[in-house]
């Protein structure tokens, strides 16, 4: 009986804790490299992300092997030579939405946000600060952003033979649709 009443004591706590977090297991992150010689696009629809609606904390995790390229050879080069996905299978972002306090999650609308945190790719962690948008519609939260990543910042070496085919600045697109946890 004592145990049971203890359980009832915790139920509201568990519910409120859960209600404040949003997550997705199939968010989208893509990147695009454009040079006069070749355009390269890769898509990953298996991104895991958690957004804490109380604090604005934001976490992303992706598997490098889940990036899909149009050409098999590109995918092989990407995994084996550039990001070395055997050695570094995951990339992640761990940060927060700086102006999260300005958002009203109960009200539909588009909000411009500033996101800051640590981006880890290829085993190298860099602090980044980028613009994004949060869209709230009927209680659903979507998050999006487009920003630039430089491979050299993450010690990703592009060999001379293909250097002209791969841009020095890669455009990264983020598109998340969260569900309440």
């Amino acid at each position: 009986m004592k145990k049971l009443s203890l359980l009832f004591l915790f139920i509201p706590l568990i519910i409120t804790l859960n209600a404040q977090k949003y997550m997705t297991r199939n968010g989208y992150i893509g990147f695009y490299s454009s040079t006069p010689l070749e355009d390269i696009q890769a898509d990953n629809h298996q991104v895991a992300s958690i957004l804490d609606a109380e604090t604005g904390d934001l976490v992303f995790q992706v598997l490098m092997r889940s990036f899909q390229f149009e050409k098999k050879l590109m995918e092989e080069h990407f995994n084996e030579n550039y990001v070395e996905s055997e050695k570094f299978p995951k990339s992640s972002f761990d940060g927060k939405i700086l102006n999260f306090g300005d958002l009203d999650l109960g009200k539909d609308g588009n909000y411009d946000v500033m996101v800051e945190g640590d981006l880890t790719i290829h085993g190298v962690t860099r602090s980044i600060k980028e613009k994004g948008t949060i869209t709230i519609s009927e209680g659903n939260i979507k998050a999006g952003s487009v920003f630039i990543v430089k491979p050299e910042d993450f010690d990703i070496e592009i060999p001379g033979v293909v250097r002209d085919k791969i841009a020095k600045e890669i455009e990264v697109t983020v598109d998340m649709k969260y569900d309440m946890m």
Partner: protein
């Protein structure tokens, strides 16, 4: 004589260029007719990853894995690819198999709770163990 040498040389270069372009533009192989590197059940696969991810990556990462399991859900992604979610025995995560070619799934008329077998390339584990380029394995 020397003309012949030049022609042969040109022909060799031409063939090399054509072969090069062919391999460069090669699309992704369909796994349908490829033998799996490993055959395993969904709960076992998840357990291997959740208990020792580094070890599991060594065995399964980028391998063709044939996985058996009970269907938990069918999901449609934003890009119209589809996921078959196979249950693990762990409440924390499942095995998610992503299909680019969704015709087979639509034809198979699958239902939740059904036993399915899927072949795909293992990308590793986030919250769930993920397989890509999946195809259904005929029972």
């Amino acid at each position: 004589m020397s003309r012949n040498v030049i022609y042969t040389g040109l022909a060799v270069v031409l063939v090399a260029v054509i072969v090069g372009i062919y391999f460069y533009n090669l699309g992704h192989k369909n796994l349908k007719n490829k033998a799996p590197d490993v055959v395993i059940t969904a709960p076992e696969l998840f357990k291997t990853f959740s208990s020792d991810e580094e070890y599991a990556n060594e065995i399964y990462l980028n391998k063709i894995v044939e996985v058996f399991g009970v269907l938990e859900a069918i999901e449609v992604n934003q890009d119209s690819t589809m996921n078959l979610v196979l249950v693990s025995t762990d409440p924390l995560g499942n095995v998610i198999c992503t299909f680019k070619d969704t015709d087979d799934i639509k034809k198979a008329d699958l239902e939740k709770g059904e036993d399915v077998a899927v072949k795909g390339i293992c990308s590793g584990m986030l919250m769930d163990v993920l397989l890509n380029n999946c195809v259904l394995v005929e029972k």
